[in-house]
């Protein structure tokens, strides 16, 4: 199902449009129906990753769906576009570890003194996926994405528990990176490619960019009555 048409509820501003260049999202102003058509066509096509290889991307899609599965509570990572979100983040300053202190020497120490590897998120994904694919092939004879859900869960449980080493990086470090970015992709503003159709926010009852609750500060435990809206004005 293509995502619902975003509606524009505020005038576009220069800084705002600038932030969007290079992304695959569009806004439509009424009367510009060809934009809507372009977007609809775009939505039919699967996202083409720019950072991950197709094989790596298949892993990210499968692993994030296992961490955040579609179920009775609502959409999973696949439906929310989490893999697209992560791919796009890898091309952002964050993917390059722009605000991490990355000066040598890199000395390993007790876990509670924090991350001490010479790798930024892009490296962690490339090394982590290669390491986990090798582990999966060794254990099951096939790629992670081709395993059934229980086998995938078993591998992720081992990774989280710290019993899998992925060459240069401890399995637990890669697990935490993947988990954190999965939750970000499920719940960040759709501007970044995830939280498609505001599905993450709908599930939680988070109203997004409304940011004005003067009339609902204290209604004695009544649920907030309005659905979410995104920064671009998209509603669910």
């Amino acid at each position: 199902m293509p995502p619902k048409e975003p509606t524009l509820t505020r005038p576009l501003r220069r800084s705002f449009v600038k932030g969007l260049l290079g992304s695959t999202s569009f806004w439509m102003v009424s009367g510009h129906s060809h934009w809507a058509e372009a977007l609809a066509q775009e939505a039919q096509k699967p996202y083409q990753p720019t950072f991950f290889t197709p094989e790596e991307y298949r892993f990210v899609e499968a692993a994030t769906e296992r961490l955040f599965p579609q179920d009775q509570h609502g959409p999973g990572a696949r439906g929310l576009g989490v893999a697209e979100f992560i791919d796009r983040q890898m091309e952002s300053p964050y993917g390059h570890g722009d605000n991490w202190y990355m000066s040598a020497p890199f000395v390993q120490g007790p876990a509670n003194l924090g991350y001490q590897l010479p790798f930024v998120p892009r490296d962690l994904y490339q090394k982590g996926i290669a390491g986990l694919e090798a582990y999966t092939r060794q254990q099951h004879g096939k790629s992670f994405a081709d395993l059934r859900a229980p086998a995938q869960e078993q591998i992720l449980t081992a990774l989280e528990g710290g019993s899998v080493s992925l060459g240069d990086i401890p399995g637990r470090v890669f697990f935490e990176q993947l988990r954190t970015n999965t939750m970000e992709g499920a719940f960040a503003d759709p501007l970044y490619g995830g939280n498609k159709g505001l599905g993450g926010w709908l599930m939680l009852g988070f109203p997004g960019a409304r940011a004005d609750f003067m009339d609902w500060v204290n209604q004695d435990g009544e649920a907030y009555p309005f659905g979410p809206i995104s920064i671009s004005g998209e509603t669910a």
């Binding site: 800084s15 991490w100 509670n112 991350y115 939750m183 599930m203 940011a211 204290n218 004695d220 907030y224």
Partner: protein, 592 residues
């Protein structure tokens, strides 16, 4: 080479620096303020809706220090190798104009009067022997009565909303019964209780405690402060902590002080200016100015000044003192030297209480400074005698606006799933129906907890990083456990379906990987004895008398309250004595 000269140089454009710059320009001085980060204008980058983006804001840390340029190293004990703090997590210093004062929440406390004389108070009540071996428990050297006018002034500048208990000795309202006397009421009426805050208030009353509204530098009404700076009423949007307030409702240097300062021709603000050191003359007892790096050109520039104010973030002030040779570095083995001594933090644990599923807690609604607290187990407000620890902790509901990414990352653990379908169910239930309750407590100073220069790692400018030696100690762990146990009757009175009370564990080392608080303190503390304090009671360096060091670095102990209100009051206190005494006859305000 001609050096540019100013009467005073102010290092750091946060609350402390902005207050000092305002006071000194009012006194007729020319002031150059140097800020390491960039300009930050709320009208531009704080504008709705771009600013209320959780990923770009609190998650990717738009307003926080860029560690790629400089950070600290951390170890728990003296025999360990300290390792770099490579990713922002446990604490989040600010960067750019406004500093941490731009991204703070807005909880605007004064101080518990007894906390200013904690050593004296403990000794009077329980005797000298009550103080554990190795604890450097000290008084500030200033009293609540002396600071009161400056707390009052800061509240009026910040536009603080609250409900007083006592004004000029008369009970005037339903405020905190443990508060010190006030000379005036809050400038703005108290903010409304969120549903969770009113639930906590009722339950805490039923449990026999004395709840009060947190004083909030979030404006409950439109306000114009004494500098002519304007604030708009807060709408509980929930984007305070980690954000610049799009409504101009949360006090910040950018909104409440700098608009007035920028109009003063005696004032110059230079951003993207990383101060490398304070230059001293041959006697090492007088500062001649500062050297800074223009970060965009990588050019080193010297400025001369008669007076130097260090008002960067707590540990940056200490770092600059160590790099400049101001005072004697602290040595934990001999317990001598003062620069780096009494480095402290706070003990913060967050518990969670679930209400029946018919009740929606709407946790995304909130304001950073708003909530309901109890002080029954804070400071010297209860009998420590049979408990055998020093310090205490307020307990509160401070619903600052819980965002979905933070909620999702934080859900699970401690035996409950952190991913998968059961996790999703728990996340939704927790987000919709639970209440966060914090114990936000003191942390005492210890002989082997301190700051010095790291022997190995350097910043982007080739200078040694600051090294933190810090861990949790038995006294503070037991205090936290005791106070957290007092949440249970509140949870019962709330009609909770489930409660997860979180406390520190015996022997638990400080962990840099999880956010705790940015309320770091000490390292260059104020006091009455130059052997045990880096600064005198006016925050003037004992060793270099034309250097004043303003910030939470001056706190001898970590207190249970949020530090900003105390920092602002100390800034006005120091400025008052600079203006009325120091400028007339520069030199030490207290003879060593």
């Amino acid at each position: 080479m001609t050096k540019k000269h100013a009467d005073a140089i102010v290092v750091g454009a946060g609350w402390a620096g902005s207050i000092l710059a305002k006071e000194l320009t009012e006194a007729g001085l020319s002031v150059i303020m140097l800020e390491r980060g960039s300009e930050r204008a709320t009208a531009v980058e704080g504008a709705y809706p771009e600013s209320i983006d959780e990923l770009r804001g609190a998650i990717r840390k738009r307003l926080f220090q860029n560690l790629s340029q400089t950070t600290v190293t951390v170890r728990n004990t003296i025999d360990q190798t300290a390792l770099p703090y490579r990713q922002l997590a446990a604490f989040l210093p600010g960067e750019g104009v406004g500093g941490a004062g731009l991204h703070w929440s807005g909880v605007h406390f004064r101080v518990s009067p007894e906390d200013l004389r904690l050593r004296s108070s403990v000794v009077e009540r329980y005797g000298e022997k009550f103080i554990p071996e190795g604890m450097n428990l000290q008084d500030y050297g200033v009293t609540y009565a002396e600071l009161e006018p400056f707390f009052d002034k800061a509240e009026k500048v910040f536009g603080t909303s609250g409900e007083a208990y006592k004004v000029n000795g008369k009970i005037v309202g339903n405020g905190n019964i443990f508060d010190g006397d006030r000379s005036d009421n809050f400038p703005l009426p108290v903010m409304k209780d969120t549903f969770t805050a009113s639930t906590f208030r009722a339950a805490a009353t039923e449990a026999g405690y004395h709840p009060y509204s947190l004083p909030a530098a979030n404006a409950s009404r439109q306000y114009t402060n004494p500098y002519g700076c304007q604030m708009g009423p807060c709408n509980f949007c929930g984007y305070c902590s980690g954000y610049d307030c799009y409504l101009y409702s949360k006090a910040s240097p950018n909104v409440n002080v700098l608009p007035a300062l920028r109009q003063d021709p005696r004032f110059t603000l230079i951003s993207d200016a990383h101060v490398l050191r304070v230059d001293l003359d041959d006697t090492r007892a007088k500062a001649t100015g500062v050297a800074y790096l223009e970060t965009k050109t990588q050019k080193e520039i010297s400025l001369s000044a008669d007076l130097v104010i260090l008002s960067a973030f707590q540990f940056h002030n200490v770092h600059l003192m160590l790099l400049s040779g101001i005072g004697k570095p602290y040595d934990p083995v001999s317990n001598t030297g003062t620069t780096g001594r009494n480095f402290v933090y706070q003990t913060i644990t967050s518990s969670r209480i679930w209400l029946p599923s018919s009740k929606y807690t709407n946790q995304f609604i909130g304001a950073g400074g708003v909530g309901v607290a109890i002080d029954d187990f804070n400071s010297m407000n209860f009998d420590h005698g049979p408990l055998g620890f020093v310090g205490g902790s307020p307990v509160w509901v401070n619903q600052a606006g819980v965002k979905p990414i933070a909620a999702a990352i934080g859900t699970g653990g401690g035996g409950t799933p952190r991913w998968g379908s059961a996790y999703k169910g728990a996340l939704i239930d927790t987000y919709k129906h639970s209440i966060g309750v914090d114990a936000h407590g003191s942390n005492m100073a210890y002989r082997d907890v301190y700051l010095d220069l790291d022997p190995t790692w350097k910043d982007a400018y080739g200078q040694p990083l600051l090294r933190m030696t810090f861990t949790w100690k038995d006294n503070d762990i037991r205090m936290n456990q005791y106070v957290v146990s007092k949440i249970e009757p509140i949870a019962r009175a709330m009609g909770a379906t489930k409660a997860n009370l979180v406390h520190l564990n015996a022997g638990q080392p400080f962990d840099t990987r999880h956010y705790q608080t940015t309320h770091l303190g000490g390292g260059a503390i104020m006091g009455t004895d130059p052997k045990t304090s880096a600064l005198n009671r006016y925050l003037q360096s004992w060793d270099v008398s034309n250097v004043f060091v303003i910030g939470s670095n001056a706190f001898p102990q970590g207190m249970g309250y949020n530090p900003t209100g105390m920092v602002a009051a100390l800034a006005y206190w120091a400025a008052y004595h600079i203006r009325t005494t120091y400028l007339k006859s520069p030199g030490p305000l207290v003879q060593a």
